[in-house]
Amino acid sequence: MALVTARNVTKRFGALTALQGVDLDIRKGEVLALLGDNGAGKSTFIKILAGAHSQSEGELRIEGRPVSFSSPRDAAEAGVATIYQELALSENLSIAENVFLGREITRRVLGVPFLRSRAMRERVAELLEELDAHISDPAAPVGSLSGGQRQAVAICRALNLNAKLVIMDEPTAALAVAETRKVLALTRRLAERGCAVLLISHNISDVFEVADRIVVFRRGRKIAERERRATDPEEIVSFITGAHPDVRALEQANL
């Protein structure tokens, strides 16, 4: 059974339709890549999954149960962890504070939740170790870290949620080659652990390296869905650019 089932998901921002009737299944243990041109609606779709937007129409189910998230907190509690394109880290807070923001480990004394800072720092050190990320000063504010290091912090956050679905919006866009390799390896490892991973990327070769399945959005619609083994970069690119005959036919029909 699919972990996440999306049916007829539509999102309008005023007069603009950013998503139109998207049907999509995401399975456990797979890396599903979501591709599409700028403005195709990828970020909008994942923001609905993550509880940051609510859909105008359509239904979402997780493990068969209909869900409706009214905040990112709801989505996190349902096991959806999201690494946003714009990362959503608080630059003025430390790594540990960011990793645990909104779900701190606390010990209640007389009803007051006191932070267990040491426990959180130790957990973060473990996670960074697991990620093979080298950060000299974990107490430094995240604003002073490099792009790759910030990406690692965002991934720590997702790992720490023990999520069923990890969504990554262009996780390697700002990274150098070596760091990109690490993030891709990690993406596979998450899937092997049984997570479902939804990966958004503009880099076709990265996608072909890690994805099990590929979905293409264009102008708010899902226009193609392929097993990686059953397709090639050329075909996917032609879907993205709209050069593929199927896309032409579809767009003719919708005019």
Binding site: S71, P72, R73, L89, S90, N92, G102, P113, F114
Partner: protein, 323 residues
């Protein structure tokens, strides 16, 4: 707990402490009266309300908020305290009325800002107008004066040689320090100050944080009102008219960012002391009291300019940081 980190002051705080010292030395050289124990005690006494309100303002600025109605909120709470005193309900009731009325006003402010989604500077300016008139109407055009002495004990009594008011301020400081540095409230507040959107995406209950900060701020204004009435035993029409400016100036002087995301409680205390030392000293050397607000306003503008020039703040403060 790391004692060293607690005792370590930032360079901003050290500068401010040095400024206080320099001011004290300079005024002592010009005025014979300035350095006397009586006068220094007066300065501390005059700092009580501003210290409490400054602590609340620190929380608000740290989360990217502000409240320009703190002075009149204190005024309203002070009338509450005065009326309860005058009606003969006794010291305990009168003392509690301050923080209670303050917290209630805090809930009003929080509701307008948070539920009404109105920028705090505009919302509290509107409330300033409302509270101002409420003070006038409630006082009925007449000062409360010559109130009963039931609350005088708060001013005169001390514990282990330290006045009760100082203990209360220390307790308020400690509670806020613990909330900021030892509970999730601290990182949540600073995350909201950095970016509401990012804080929300990270699972912070932004509205809860904003609501709490405004209510705490209101309760502190009310506590200040209790001390005010206990000391002066009267409530005049113009009560608290300079407090908002002074509180914002003290907090910004102390190194809390006017744009949110960074705060210093020690800095706020030092900022309050510096403002009160300057006001007292200038008065003693013969500067008319009319100039006090000019000095405070000038300090606020000067420190914001210096911060902008030294890169502590984004170049343009006209546009908020992008979310």
């Amino acid at each position: 707990m790391n004692l060293r980190r607690i005792l370590t002051l930032s360079s901003r705080e050290l500068t401010l402490a040095a400024a206080c010292l320099v001011a004290i030395i300079a005024f002592s050289m010009v005025s014979d009266h300035f350095g006397t124990a009586t006068n220094l005690t007066t300065i501390l006494r005059n700092s009580v309300e501003l210290l409490l309100i400054g602590l609340g303002m620190t929380l608000l600025l740290a989360m990217g908020g502000i409240d320009v109605s703190v002075g009149v909120a204190m005024g309203l709470a002070a009338i509450g305290v005065g009326k309860v005193l005058a009606a003969g309900f006794g010291a305990l009731a009168a003392a509690l009325v301050g923080p209670l009325v303050g917290a209630a006003l805090g809930i009003v402010t929080a509701s307008v800002v948070v539920l009404g989604r109105i920028p705090p500077i505009v919302a509290t300016l509107g409330l300033f107008g409302v509270f101002r008139t409420a003070i006038f109407l409630w006082l009925g055009g007449q000062w409360l004066s010559g109130l009963p002495t039931d609350l005088t004990a708060i001013v005169s009594s001390s514990f282990m040689g330290v006045p009760l008011m100082a203990w209360t301020i220390a307790a308020a400081y400690l509670v806020i320090w613990v909330a900021l540095r030892r509970t999730p409230f601290g990182p949540h507040l600073l995350a909201v100050g950095n970016s509401e959107t990012k804080a929300r995406l990270s699972g912070v209950s932004v509205r809860k944080v904003q609501f709490s900060a405004f209510v705490i701020n209101g309760a502190l204004c009310g506590l200040a009102a209790t001390f005010y009435v206990a000391t002066y035993r009267n409530v005049e029409m113009s009560i608290g008219s300079t407090l908002a400016l002074e509180a914002i100036a003290a907090v910004v002087l102390g190194g809390t960012s006017i744009l949110g995301g960074r705060c210093s409680l020690v800095g706020t205390v030092l900022g309050v002391l510096l403002i009160r030392i300057l006001q007292n000293g200038l008065l003693l050397v013969g500067v008319p009291s009319l100039w006090q607000t000019v000095v405070t306003g000038g300090l606020l503008i000067a420190v914001l300019c210096l911060d902008a020039l030294s890169g502590r703040m984004p170049v343009s403060i006209w546009r908020r940081r992008p979310a």
